[in-house]
Symmetry: C5
Subunit: 324 residues, 5 copies
């Protein structure tokens, strides 16, 4: 299944679905701007790509198969681009959901393909149906407007992500638990996925923005540099988050060790106070026949007084050493 959007300076907008022959006619008119969005890639679509658009077998393969990396390839009659949008965000698994978007830009046509048939490019299509000028300015400007809305889809997710890093940051020094560590660890892996998604796309846009590619007019290359700037900015934000998270992971070990110190101080204080007292009590629990203190009337209160004094002395000592 596919949709077509045709603009011709003479005949104007045509957003109805063109058949194979109509596409061939539209392509032959160099003034036309044709966008064909492939919702599924079945035999019919493959036939059109092969026979009408004359795409290289490897391009057809790229359209059909999933790609894992952004790329740009320069063929004789067209440029082929693989880019990715982020649709949603699986918090539990710590994976960013990427959606591949393929673009094939020729002299007067743009072929696009994607997985999520309904949502992808929905607003762009709506705008064209309302006769927006984005298709009038040529097929390269159309590509720009599609890529621009694609990159815009990153910002809310990066923002949400940034909030999670801030929340983690607050939790780290206030109340760190095993769960905090898991959050840090998951965030770290998420960041890694984001970087690996955004970075190579910036590389691709940097090539497109250089302005020496065919089918992209030098005047419009500044728009692609603008997308490149946005991607570099996203990369910067994600890079900052990564550095914070890496620091948080290092700090966590120290925080946990600090806590252990506190626990051990408690134990040591308890043991240091209780053990000598118990020893004293045990000594006077011995059954020696001749222990003069035991006979004395003041023996018991004296020992209790000594015990109390000893405890107070030790507490004071630990207070001074800041263990309490």
């Amino acid at each position: 299944m596919y949709e077509t959007f045709l603009y011709n300076p003479q005949t104007g907008f045509n957003t109805e679905r063109l058949d194979r022959e109509q596409i061939r006619q539209a392509l032959s008119d160099h003034a036309s701007v044709l966008w064909i969005d492939l919702k599924t890639i079945d035999d019919e679509e493959i036939d059109i790509l092969t026979e009408v658009f004359n795409l290289h077998p490897l391009t057809i393969e790229d359209f059909i198969m999933a790609n894992a990396r952004p790329k740009i390839e320069n063929f004789k009659d067209y440029i082929f681009l693989v880019m990715f949008s982020i649709q949603s965000f699986e918090k539990e698994k710590g994976r960013v959901n990427k959606d591949e978007r393929d673009f094939c830009l020729g002299k007067n046509f743009l072929v696009t393909a994607h997985n999520d048939s309904e949502k992808a490019f929905a607003t762009n299509k709506e705008r064209i149906r309302k006769q927006s000028p984005i298709i009038k300015n040529g097929v390269d400007f159309l590509l720009y407007s599609l890529l621009d809305s694609l990159v815009d889809s990153y910002f809310p997710i990066i923002d949400e992500f940034d909030n999670m890093v801030d929340a983690m940051n607050d939790e780290l020094f206030r109340d760190p638990s095993n769960d905090t560590l898991k959050k840090i660890y998951t965030l770290k892996n998420e960041i890694m996925h984001l970087r690996r998604t955004i970075g190579p796309q910036a590389d691709v846009m940097s090539i497109v923005g250089r302005g020496d590619l065919p089918y992209i007019s030098p005047a419009n290359s500044v728009y692609f540099r603008n997308i490149y700037d946005n991607l570099v900015r996203l990369n910067d934000i994600v890079g900052t988050s990564r550095d914070i998270i890496t620091g948080a992971m290092e700090a966590y070990v120290s925080i946990v060790s600090n806590r252990l110190n506190d626990i051990m101080k408690t134990l040591t204080v308890i043991a240091t106070i209780m053990m000598p007292l118990t020893l004293i009590a045990s000594i006077y629990g011995m059954n020696f026949k001749h222990m003069p203190e035991l006979e004395s009337k003041m023996g018991y209160p004296l020992v209790i007084t000594i015990m109390l004094s000893l405890s107070i002395l030790m507490l004071y000592y630990f207070k001074k050493r800041k263990w309490l």
Copy 2:
């Protein structure tokens, strides 16, 4: 709202606010040097930028929207620069407050924009009002003097920052606490922000200082290289701080572990001395009918003597092992 500063070799200084038509006239005279500082960017200013200065829509957008990264863009009729000053320093949040400053340098004009309408460029404006030669030397020298005072604003903040690192460094080995760790962590994140602010600006200045840009005379490019040198120097100082902080974070774990060792030594010494003594006392607390020692007159003092000797022996042993 905007301010204008005009210098013309024939008519001299004019620091009164020019209207749209006067700006157009000033621009048409190639001997003029015109600086227009946009305090706000409303419809009037956008109209002037579009109609009078003929700026590209993306440049207008860059003027209006916040940019997150320094950049330089080379348009047909002008160069567009985004730089950042540091105004203040939020110690609690660990964030450096950056202020964007946009510069648009043409043949005989300089357009600047910023957020903090009053303070930005205040001293520079004052000097021009006092007929300083900084505007006489051409629009590129004017840009240099604005950038120079912008970069100068970094030094006091970097110095304050350096002092904080030194203070942390002293605290680290003298009296490290959980709070010290938090300081290290916060300083680390601050440093990261500073590096991400300074580094790319140095890159931009390196491009400007190369001397092959239009509207910047080769003779003046040495001044921009001077700004570049200052930014590299700042980057060096911040890099040194980062290395110190990173080392401090690593050292902290070891320091905390050393403390734990000390705590555990205390506990072990206490337990090792007290437990055998308590065992001895417990043994003579047993109720066996036939325990010859209990009958002996010397039993009690002997046991106490043994206990004391044992303690002294153990203390001596721990002293020798340097646990005390």
Copy 3:
């Protein structure tokens, strides 16, 4: 021992083993496409490589000796390539089993060599025996199809590897043991070996895909870029795994420390509750003559009540401090 596969537009397919003289004849016909696969390299093969193919002594040496790194070398009459396939995976030792494959591509011939005489290129040979067009498209396309199936051999192993990383990841926070650490450590070393195998091969394919090498037609270079893309993708997956594993190793220390904290809390709670109670019991175990409490009828139940209250109070305190 060697096998030969000859295709000639006039005489068609010949998959029978050619002798020395027949090979010489095949080479002299520029329309022929000859593939010779060396199963062993003995005197006969060395003689053919030297005398018939005129290979450089160092190339012969490379064919005979094991190479540890992928490489490409450009000789006057041929290109020499060393690539590696992964055959199996030794889980215990944490080593990836690489198999060297040597390729020598000339104007109309391809010489290949490898260790595992039977399995290597088995499917490719089968296809040629069934008169597949992969040999018809020229000797460079034949090289592509061999390299393509070589790189395809990586994917199942990388997938298996990915599953091991995921399993480790689950185990890490659920039930980490010394064995988990060993798994992480072994996986880390495996990843390292994989990266060192895949990365340099991508570099080699990037050179081949540039399209400026002799004996590789510019039209076919896009196929080698396709292999390059696959290798970069593999490198990406392995790089992601490495980052996860590195993070896992860092997280492990913290997880173990967290556990230690839990253990120490248990010990401290036990000691803090038991020691004071034992002290109280020891006090009333003293043998002083004059201890009024001992005479009282309510003495014993009162002490027991105090002990119980003290325990409950302490448990409540530890509950509040979240130590229980």
Copy 4:
């Protein structure tokens, strides 16, 4: 205050202080080689630099102000170099004391400036006063000989530094303390300062050694490459030290943890032996009326024997587990 050293093939050596007019004359004779060393930079010196040597305002500024980084700048009539010598070494603070040395090399003159007015270049001046040929070979060879003695000043300090690293290395496994950690930490920061001092100077010398700068004859550029080699060698030594120190810091945590394990083993052994014995003693200290063992004549010696056997058994067990 300044000193001048003039050599002229005809008039020979003149090491007396020339005044402004004499300097101007010396410069006008292209066969002369003039070295002027500025001990202080006051109005008189600034006037000479500006009026006689025609230096750029930024160069004058660089002479007056402290520079933090080595640099080379290529002006129309001269090359300006900032280099650093190390004079001494503050062990306590962990800072290397750098001394800035500025060089301004023209067609037939060399201007130098520094802070430590007496010691800097003292031996070089002495050699010239003794009519050493270092000034005869031209102004570029003079620059080389000054830089060479400057770089030579690094070696004794680097050696001393290396000894400190070796000493730390020995201490690390023999008797590590909190003080050892502080040494490691301080050495690490020192190394960082050294690297930041040496590295950029090597970069500067690499530029000078390329042999395409004006005022440096291609035949002499090999001497500057020699200085470059020395700086790279210094950088290597310092880099090795840094790697050792970084490893030492990582190892320290493990060493401290190992010690903690030893301490805890001691505690566990003590507790495991003492606690059951104390329990046994406590059991026979119970006041039950009917405890048949208490009546038996063999009760007491039997219990003591059991206690001893238990201790020996446990000691044997811990010995076997290598805890003792």
Copy 5:
């Protein structure tokens, strides 16, 4: 002291020691291939290098003084190379013993120098004395054969090193001790030295293998690329070892922490079982007049039964929590 090896197509081999004048004659005949190996560098040798070979003073200095880094320098009449062989391996100190080898390659001569006068190049000399063709193929092939045997000297040492890493790897999870850590630490420093020795030599060989140097025939440059390949391979092996060692150091901390957890579990189990039992015994050791349980005949066996049940219950609990 020096040895000379002369080959001339007409006069054949001459391995006798030539004097100054004979060397001069040999050099003047362009068909000759002369190798002079300096065993010591005294006045006689310096005189020959200066007067007969016309070497630059800096080259003479490089011959006399120890160099710390491999390098290649291109002089007008010759190429000067510094390379290093590894002779032996000091396990205790963790230092690799490098031996400098200097090579000076001219049009028809090769000058070599080294420290270990007897062993260096011994086999090569032997082969020439047996009239091996290695000197017939020209002075560049002679250089190759010397470098090749130099690089071959690395392999046994790297192999031994690899075995040490494997042994450490086995020990790490089986029975890690403080000594294991010391081994890891020492191996890490050794690896560092090896990398710093091998890496820069690969860089030097990469320059020589490029084939654009004078005195090295393009046809022979493939041999130097072969040496480069060997060095890169060595670097790879060492790099792999480094990564394993780095991972081992990180893993060690976790292993030690795991052990600490085990120790603490033992202590906690002992304390948790013994303390309540001791408390019970202490309670029935109290001397209250009115403790009904003490009178009961079943008191004692009941308490012992309770104690046993409690122990079993706790052991079961710890078993379930996998602490035992």
